[in-house]
Amino acid sequence: MFLFLLASAFFLFVILSVLPYFRGVGVWIDRRLPIFSFLLEHLTYYPAPKNLNMWYAFGALAMVACVIQFISGIWLVMYYTPTADQAFSSVQLIMREVPYGWLVRYVHSTGVSMWFIVVYFHIFRGLLYGSYKTPRELLWMSGVVLLFLLMAEAYTGYVLPWGQMSFWASKVIISLFSSIPVVGNDIVVWLQGDYEVSGVTLHRFFAFHVVGFSFLILAMIFLHIIMLHSVGSNNPDGIDIMKHKDRNGWPLDAVPYYPYFVMKYIPIILFYLLVFFIIVFYAPTFYGLFLEAENFERANPLVTPLHIKPSWYLSPYYAILRSIPDKSLGALMMLLSILLWLFLPWLDLSPVRSMRYRGWMSRVALATVVGSFVLLGYLGLQPAVGWYLVMSRVATVLYFSFFVLIPIVSYYDHDHVVPERIPER
């Protein structure tokens, strides 16, 4: 085994080492299919602001997470059976009988949580440095759509193991549609394809998870990167680097993405993988947060689990839903809690992008929305009783107050003067 690994690694090493000698072949292909010049343009000579910091690694990490999910997902589908009586046991077949099935499955189940962690940090970076502000409004909006798609993908995937939580979570989320006036109940039946969540529902969720949302996500990521590369990266100082260019049109404050940033981010990506595999090998259920205990029990339409909890990455929205004592309004607010972010580029009136040059009011506003989001995430996993309920109502109000306050705050805040060029540090 070890020898085989070494041998194949050596083989790959030799191939990689002799590749430069086949430059002519590359040129020949590139004349006909400009794939290498495309990579050169977008990976090598992409002008990246020289002060990009660790926060900017999360975009690359999100891509890594995406690739991990796609590969492990393809492998899982080889054994997974999307029927009500087979789904649960086919997952156990993968876990116990398929060679390295446990690894592929744990990578996929850990991967989704890690993807969300990375994406949430990526979004936070956008807020911190004002990456949503002009000219990156569409880039930001595509990101919000991506988050939405990712949630849909995660939710449909969560249903597939057909455990107790899968079943009841899908029931709860689908019931949300019954709050639509007049046609709500018909829509629920239409979505389920049955009068109750059943194997039919499972099968269509499977279709959406494996082919539907996943390919929409790929397409959206592609657009996201196209948009990023046409307007250029923002940076921690929020300074427009395109204003000052040298004779050849190269921004003076930019560095080619390769090799500097690629090499800077490779150890970070590896560190991400290190954390990833510590979880996979030593705490794959992550204390019931990544794989819930209740979901190791086969779906049973007759018995509801004591506490229905969403996955941790959806719990903030769930907490908002529960904190509002009206079904339709709760569902609406849950939807708004994501959709409102679409309008952030126009709600923020400050001419300054980065928090580094923003006044205290903007900082407080950001801390409020992030803090209440984290708090909601915690509360969404707790039972909605007593102080938990009171706190989740407070957190909901704080969360939405951000969207009301930010136009006022950003208009009156005492921002600092933003330098013309990226300062030396």
Binding site: S8, I71, Y79, L252
Partner: protein, 199 residues
């Protein structure tokens, strides 16, 4: 930090650089190979499949002379044929018109590489899959039942390949080699174990 021209920088230790670079590339290749191991192993038969592919035992006590019995082993048809003296005698007659009369192509375990292609002359055990394109030939023991020179054997109706009663292919047939003999042994007089060649 801005665009300093490289000549202003202290020279770099080229040995160290080359070493680090080569190690990085090698470790990257090792990582790719490491990812390959689980992903490729995943594709091989899983534990239940291997469990289902274990040797099977067949009771052959009730078989009449000339009878064919077909059993499934690893989802493939395996024939057990109890050959009569006349059938065994017919094997010698056709040697000249066979492609591989002495079973030189390793289509059988060593212990079945003999004139009868079997451990016991009376019991023939064959994988019932034509070596041409995988059809299952039919058992035609009666002489002259396929053509005038037919002495009994197997006939593949898909593409017309002919085999004698030891599963040996005739000359100028689409099938390239004799029918395969699976590993087997007799655990006692009447019990045949298919899938395991014994000791």
């Amino acid at each position: 930090m801005s665009g300093n021209p490289p000549e202003n920088l202290a020279p770099v230790d080229e040995v160290k650089r080359s070493l680090l670079k080569k190690t990085s590339v090698f470790l990257g290749a090792l990582g790719l190979a490491g990812i390959g191991v689980p992903l490729l192993s995943y594709l091989s038969p899983n534990r239940s499949t291997r469990e289902a592919g274990k040797p099977i035992s067949v009771d052959v006590s009730g078989m009449k002379v000339g009878e064919q019995k077909t059993v499934l082993w690893r989802s493939k048809p395996v024939w057990i044929i109890r050959r009569s003296e006349a059938m065994l005698a017919s094997l010698g007659l056709v040697d000249g018109s066979l492609k591989d009369p002495d079973s030189e192509i390793p289509q059988q375990p060593g212990y079945a590489r003999n004139e009868m292609r079997s451990i016991r002359p009376d019991f023939l055990v064959l994988l019932g899959i034509c070596t041409h394109l995988g059809c299952s030939p039919t058992y035609r023991p009666d002489p002259k039942s396929v053509d005038d020179t037919w002495v009994g054997g197997f006939y593949c109706s898909c593409h017309g390949s002919k085999f004698d009663l030891a599963g040996r292919v005739f000359k100028n047939m689409p099938a390239p080699s004799n029918l395969e003999v699976p590993p087997y042994h007799f655990s006692d007089e009447n019990t045949l174990i298919i899938g395991d060649g014994g000791i």
